[in-house]
Symmetry: C2
Subunit: 209 residues, 2 copies
């Protein structure tokens, strides 16, 4: 039985506990300062089990990268609909995708952003390679084909876009600290926020729904 199969053969619930612990510790501390001790403790298992399942710290790290990558790609493929052109509906869509990912692995986003900015020499090269391969701009996927014509005259759409990014970023940040369990409530908050903006930034003729 080869390393990672051992991990795949334990109960899924336990797998998720370990994955979430590892995502959290790596996400918070970055590769170098994240210690296997911390991960094991957060997962409630002994350190030797981590090595038993994954071989090395490095292998665990790249296992998580692939896991999260597939998770996001999967969610996008499942949920994303290029037929939706409304700006706010697009934002809602991407929020839903992120929310679904966070529901499965709460620390996934924290991990992915830390991974994106990782600069530890020991893993930097491989990360650059991975990032280069998936260079299909998030921004492009998210906003290509979006209809910007519904905004009132004088509204700086680029600024709105930037603002929305800050909002979602700040929101994700605020949920990172307090253990947010109620994702539906969280989603409702973001949704209300978007509706408020839509209502006040769109021309009136587009506000029927």
């Amino acid at each position: 039985m080869i390393l990672i199969d051992k991990f795949n053969n334990i109960p899924v619930e336990k797998q998720n506990t370990i994955i979430n612990a590892a995502l959290k510790v790596f996400g918070k501390n970055g590769y170098k300062k994240a210690s296997v001790n911390d991960i094991a403790e957060a997962a409630g298992i002994s350190k030797s089990m981590v090595f038993h399942y994954f071989g090395t710290k490095r292998d665990l790290y790249f296992y998580l990268i692939e896991l999260c990558g597939n998770l996001i790609v999967g969610e996008v493929q499942e949920k994303f609909d290029p037929g939706i052109t409304d700006f706010f509906d697009r934002i809602i869509l991407t929020s839903e995708i992120e929310m679904a990912a966070a529901k499965k692995y709460p620390a996934a986003m924290s991990f992915l952003t830390s991974f994106y900015l990782e600069d530890c020499e020991e893993v930097k090269a491989d990360i650059q390679a991975i990032l280069a391969k998936g260079e299909g701009d998030r921004q492009k996927i998210a906003f290509d084909g979006t209809d910007f014509s519904k905004f009132k005259e004088g509204v700086d759409v680029k600024l709105v876009l930037k603002m929305l990014m800050w909002i979602t970023d700040g929101f994700v940040n605020s949920t990172k600290n307090n253990e947010m369990q109620d994702y539906d409530k969280a989603y409702q908050e973001i949704f209300d926020c978007l509706m408020l903006l839509k209502k006040n930034l769109y021309k009136e003729e587009y506000l029927k729904d």
Copy 2:
């Protein structure tokens, strides 16, 4: 000559380099995982100099807490005006305060938030004591006496407030990564953002200025 005086006697520019390096490393890693080696390297001095100036890692940490605390308090006392009751003017005011602080020590906010959430046993008790003393709610200072009557009917002011917090939080976060030097430009972005919201969320009779 007592420890910290040695630090006060070196050129101010060098002091600031060291302070900023320490704020950055502590802010990023938290107390425990921040190493004096990293701080010294970021500051471009040898590790022994850090101990020469501050005695211990712990002393340096609390020196920074007091420094940043005084910095913020000073900025608030200098800039805050309870006569300003307009919601957005208040937000702008607090943004200006934060921006002024960031201009002096770019990593100050990062450090203060990490300090606020610090849970390392070695310093936790003293931090709790400090936080308890300054329990004059930020929120209260920021919004007591604010005039919320200018908003359009149906605008959920609480939601706006929450949104604004996310925006500033997300904005600060986005500046943390890329070395933002141009604070005036950054300020302009936040300012534009607030004006956009004000223009679209206030009743029309309040939009003269």
